[in-house]
């Protein structure tokens, strides 16, 4: 499903954010990516949806090799990957429904499909009652639900989340985690970078520890732990 081979990433300013990463993630897995700040977690995630290209090494997602993927094909890769961020990235002038539908409109789905898929996914994240509200009328947790709904509305095989609970209080974070669990239960692979020790240690999944651009630990059902 996701394979990285000797992935090396050097930013133009000389910072090496990935220093030979090797990993294999199977279909349907739930993987936490933990590690100290500046370790290279976000870089690891960005390379998966080709926001950043690796300097060398191979990244294969759903059988697509990102190293040889032409720029023109990147949009089609992204249609197979849902991405969720710490800061939601919603459009303030669109309401809940429109924010989610947006993701399908720009890939030219039919209005009938859009209506059905958006309503289904809004029910899944529990926002059926708030479809006409705008982001500034929603709590942080609700905004993150919209963002998750948008990431999965096109039924991607992989959902990648970079600190999705980073801006949320503990109770809300648990609610959001429940949604990710639900998505994972439906067979979607999830890769989530997080600093939330409590969550990692409670909802047990595979834990990858990234330090200094390297994977230093990789344990199934592991604990949130790294030497700092």
């Amino acid at each position: 499903m996701i394979v990285m081979k000797d992935v090396y990433k050097k930013y133009p300013n000389g910072v090496v954010a990935a220093n030979g990463i090797n990993i294999e993630i199977n279909r349907g897995e739930f993987v936490y990516v933990v590690g100290p700040s500046g370790a290279g977690k976000s870089t690891f995630i960005k390379m998966m949806y080709r926001e950043e290209a690796p300097t060398s090494g191979d990244i294969i997602i759903n059988g697509i090799n990102l190293a040889t993927l032409r720029n023109k094909r990147v949009p089609y890769l992204r249609r197979q990957i849902g991405v969720v961020f710490q800061d939601f990235k919603l459009l303030p002038n669109l309401n809940v429904y429109e924010n989610v539908a947006f993701a399908l409109e720009v890939i030219e789905e039919t209005p009938q499909d859009i209506r059905k898929k958006v309503n289904d996914v809004l029910a899944l994240v529990g926002l059926t009652q708030k479809v006409r509200m705008f982001p500034n009328e929603l709590s942080g947790g609700e905004q993150q639900r919209v963002s998750i709904a948008r990431s999965i509305v096109n039924v991607p095989k992989v959902v990648i989340a970079d600190e999705p609970t980073g801006n949320l209080d503990p109770d809300t974070s648990w609610d959001i985690m429940k949604i990710f669990e639900e998505i994972n239960a439906r067979g979607t692979t999830i890769v989530m970078a997080t600093h939330n020790k409590e969550i990692v240690n409670t909802i047990r999944h595979r834990v990858i520890v990234v330090e200094g651009g390297l994977i230093t630990r990789d344990e199934y059902g592991g604990e949130y732990a790294y030497e700092s």
Binding site: Y49, N71, K72, P75, Y76, L77, R78, R79, V83, K89, L91, F102, A103, E105, V106, I107, E108, T110, P111, R150, N154
Partner: protein
């Protein structure tokens, strides 16, 4: 492209026009001024081209025979001139007819020359190819009994020179104006792109194709170009029509003729619209290429 997608692009491009209305106004104004000047310039140049052609066609060589030459000598000269290679036609005008012409243009004081006409008979020669006029004139000048050979070539060359200089200066000005208008459009599009950075980012994140992201901006550029060509098209059409109505009858007997309104006005409008669309696409393309890393 699906019709639905295209409608969406249209909608988005119109929204942008309204959203940065000041920049829209500025760039449309720039295009308007540019195309107005370009249109007037082209109208003038195309009409003068006609004039130059007419003048060229009318180039004549005037051969004045030696006043002392007798009837037969002049007749022989006429025969010889007619036989010269490249000569189309020769028209004989007697010395008295020449004097009449002179009196007509310079006044009755010349009447006193009727007693002893100092002029010679004249031959008006037309060349088959106007560009050969000078060469033919030179050749005729070598024949016996010619007193003077004159032709208007020098004047025409001067006129052509003036026209050419005017055309070059105009072209440089037009290019400068076109660049300014294009730059303003490009700037308007840049502002749109910057204002919609978040939206573009999300579009790319969820897998919108590069063209899908680009097309609304290119359309916006086209609208700016088209909006900017409306006033020039109207002003130039009406202006030229009025001018033609007014001037054409007065120019009937003249060498210079205005080009008939049809198809000229339509051609001119087509050209203005084309230039508007062109600078619109070009302007937005510059910004899209530079600021829309897709």
């Amino acid at each position: 492209m699906k019709a639905r997608t295209f409608r969406r692009h249209l909608r988005e491009s119109f929204k942008s026009l309204g959203r940065n209305s000041w920049m829209t106004f500025a760039s449309v104004s720039a295009v308007t001024v540019t195309l107005l000047l370009v249109g007037v310039f082209i109208a003038i140049m195309m009409n003068l081209n006609g004039l130059a052609g007419n003048l060229e066609k009318d180039v004549e060589i005037k051969v004045i025979a030696d006043p002392a030459a007798g009837q037969e000598a002049v007749a022989a000269l006429e025969k010889k001139v007619k036989a010269t290679e490249g000569v189309l036609e020769v028209e004989y005008s007697s010395r008295d007819a020449e004097l009449d012409k002179m009196i007509k243009s310079f006044g009755d004081e010349l009447n006193l020359y009727r007693q002893s006409n100092p002029l010679g008979d004249a031959l008006y020669v037309k060349a088959k190819d106007p560009h050969k006029t000078a060469a033919i004139a030179k050749k005729i000048d070598t024949y016996d009994y010619t007193y003077e050979v004159v032709y208007g070539q020098g004047k025409i060359e001067k006129l052509f020179k003036v026209l050419n200089t005017g055309r070059n200066v105009g072209l440089v000005l037009i290019l400068a104006l076109l660049f300014t208008a294009m730059f303003l459009i490009s700037n308007t599009i840049r502002i749109t792109i910057v204002a919609r950075k978040t939206e573009i980012g999300i579009m790319k994140l969820v897998g919108a194709t590069n063209n899908f992201v680009r097309i609304p901006f290119l359309l916006e550029g086209i609208w700016l170009g088209i909006l900017g060509s409306l006033i020039p098209m109207a002003v130039i059409s009406i202006g030229y029509y009025k001018l033609y109505q007014e001037m054409a009858p007065k120019l009937q007997e003249e060498l210079f003729q205005l080009l008939p309104t049809t198809p000229f006005i339509f051609q001119l409008n087509g050209l203005i619209l084309f230039m508007g669309v062109f600078i619109g696409i070009w302007g937005s393309f510059m910004s899209v290429r530079k600021f829309l890393k897709v």
